[in-house]
């Protein structure tokens, strides 16, 4: 039967017509149930328990800069917490509500190795033990029997990390390259994104969007001046994206997660490969070209509808350069300026990301300054939790499909008592992204093997 052989090619999408008549139950290729399984991260949910098997970035050390400094609020995995640095310099992360009458410990006094609730004076140390209960008569005190929820923390790689899972499953710290370089070789920023973590990760591994969302109009239109500028450029990405607009996608499952390989035609005998890592549960590394700094992200669920975007730039061989810091300062690439108290980006939904429509008309695809703000604008435009049952994916979405499938396998595995391998094996994170030319007969995992090893 060939009745549909030619029909599809004539079919062009008309986006004005809704699909809801087609799937009355709203279930698409990713079912509503799977979407919820992936995106719900409160305590007791399956994905929530999965994330609670890993060390997660929690706050910048500068948020609690000195012993006995004021405490700060931290929301993670749907839990309201309060962080403080005690007299000995240790960082505590406690449930925000005091177990006595549920008053907020954010108003507490940070004093003499503990955080004291100002309502009735109960005081807790970094391990959550109530070390003082002054409102009770001496003979009725039960301070040593009271404990509030407290999570272990660790200062590592320029961040305070937290482990929010069962003590008996405490994992290893991930040996990420950026976490192990000297402080002068690394820059870390934190920003709030008002979407679920999953669509933020999807943006991070979606290689095909950069030719559009982040493009200049010259690059998109392939103007003569642009072609002339990049055809002999040392910027391999610009050069070979120009030559091949329809890349070939492949993924490879690894101990740490996935390596996502995108291949473009380069010279007669070679392919240009860009290799991105997705590292469980939610780290990514952007393809790196030798001689430049490396960039990566970690997307940590704040709750179901928001996430923390941790962005890291690092150079394994030398301190970050003035050029690196200029790019950070002018927000042109992966970092964005934020409100120092809330970490909400200066360019945000309320001010329409400061879009410049004239610039969009004449210069760039979006008119929004900087890759980070462009990503944030487009990801937040999809709603806090995108309805994946209404998506229409194609083969260029292979990396996203693979990441979701891997996370679903891992989350379901844990629900059946299969502990996540990567959480217990910090060494598997010892990898680096790559972009390189390889002869056409060489597979990427062979040709890039040495480049993908981290070196500190």
């Amino acid at each position: 039967m060939t009745w549909w052989r030619t029909a599809a090619l004539r079919t062009q999408p008309r986006f004005c017509e809704p699909f809801c008549n087609l799937e009355p139950d709203g279930d698409g290729m990713l079912s509503r149930q799977e979407n919820e399984l992936l995106t719900q991260i409160d305590s007791g949910t399956e994905a929530g328990e999965y994330f609670r098997r890993f060390w997660l970035p929690a706050l910048l050390p500068t948020e609690v800069p000195t012993p006995d400094c004021p405490p700060v609020r931290v929301r993670l995995l749907g839990e309201d917490l309060v962080a403080f640095r005690d007299t000995n310099g240790r960082v505590g992360l406690l449930e925000e509500a005091c177990p006595h009458r549920r008053a907020s410990l954010f108003w507490g006094r940070n004093e003499e190795c503990g955080l004291r609730c100002v309502y009735h004076g109960w005081k807790f140390d970094v391990s959550g033990i109530c070390v003082d209960m002054p409102n009770e008569p001496q003979e009725y005190r039960f301070d040593n029997k009271v404990r509030t929820t407290a999570y272990p923390t660790c200062e590592y790689g320029g961040l305070v990390w937290v482990y929010m899972g069962p003590p008996e499953h405490r994992p290893e710290l991930p040996k990420l390259e950026w976490a192990r370089v000297p402080q002068s070789h690394r820059y870390v920023s934190k920003r709030l994104q008002e979407t679920n973590y999953l669509q933020a990760i999807e943006g991070g591994i979606d290689s095909s969007h950069s030719n559009f969302l982040h493009a200049s109009l010259d690059a998109f239109r392939l103007t003569d001046s642009y072609v002339e500028k990049v055809k002999n450029s040392s910027n391999l990405r610009a050069k070979y994206h120009l030559l091949d607009k329809a890349p070939w996608f492949t993924v490879k499952k690894t101990d740490y997660g996935l390596v996502i390989a995108v291949r473009r035609n380069a010279e007669e005998n070679s392919y240009y490969w860009r290799l991105t890592q997705f590292l469980l549960p939610s780290h990514t590394i952007i393809p790196y070209q030798a001689g430049h700094s490396i960039n990566g992200h970690c997307w940590v669920p704040r709750d179901d509808q928001t996430c923390w975007v941790w962005t890291v730039s690092w150079n394994p061989d030398a301190p970050l350069s003035l050029v690196d810091f200029e790019m950070i300062q002018d927000e042109s690439f992966v970092h964005a300026r934020v409100d120092p108290a809330t970490f909400k980006p200066v360019r945000n939904r309320e001010n329409q990301y400061m879009v410049d429509r004239e610039q969009q008309r004449t210069t760039t695809m979006t008119g929004i300054h900087g890759f980070a703000s462009q990503d944030q604008a487009i990801q937040e435009s999809m709603g806090p939790i995108v309805d994946r049952t209404r998506e229409r994916l194609g083969t260029s979405d292979t990396a996203i499909i693979a990441m979701r499938r891997l996370l679903l396998q891992e989350i379901r595995g844990l629900a059946q008592a299969c502990e996540p391998f990567a959480a217990r094996h910090g060494d598997v994170y010892w990898v680096r992204s790559a972009s390189l030319l390889l002869k056409r007969n060489v597979e990427f995992d062979e040709g890039a093997r040495d480049l993908m090893k981290a070196e500190v």
Binding site: M29, T395, T398
Partner: protein, 106 residues
Amino acid sequence: MELNGQSGVSPREVNPAHIVAVMNFSADTLRSIIAHMEVSTEFEHLVYREAELDAIWSITGFFLVNEPDSSQREAVKRLHAGALRAHDLVADRRPEDAATVLRTFL
């Protein structure tokens, strides 16, 4: 030509690590996907099959929206539903069963 099961594609031509270019939902395209399904074993292969079925589902969905009066509508609707069924079977690591579903549309 040596045939690979009922798919009509030579096994020598089938590399499960390659993604079938889904430009339409023709019988040839379905045959190629089926042939790749029959030799898919690894996580990566199944991801590629999912991507191909996503694409079939997408373009049949667009067809159904854009061609409401087509005489092929009922058949395309069945294929649209079949692609979803096959996709779920692939996700369940059952590519052979998924191939069986798709074969009914040849």
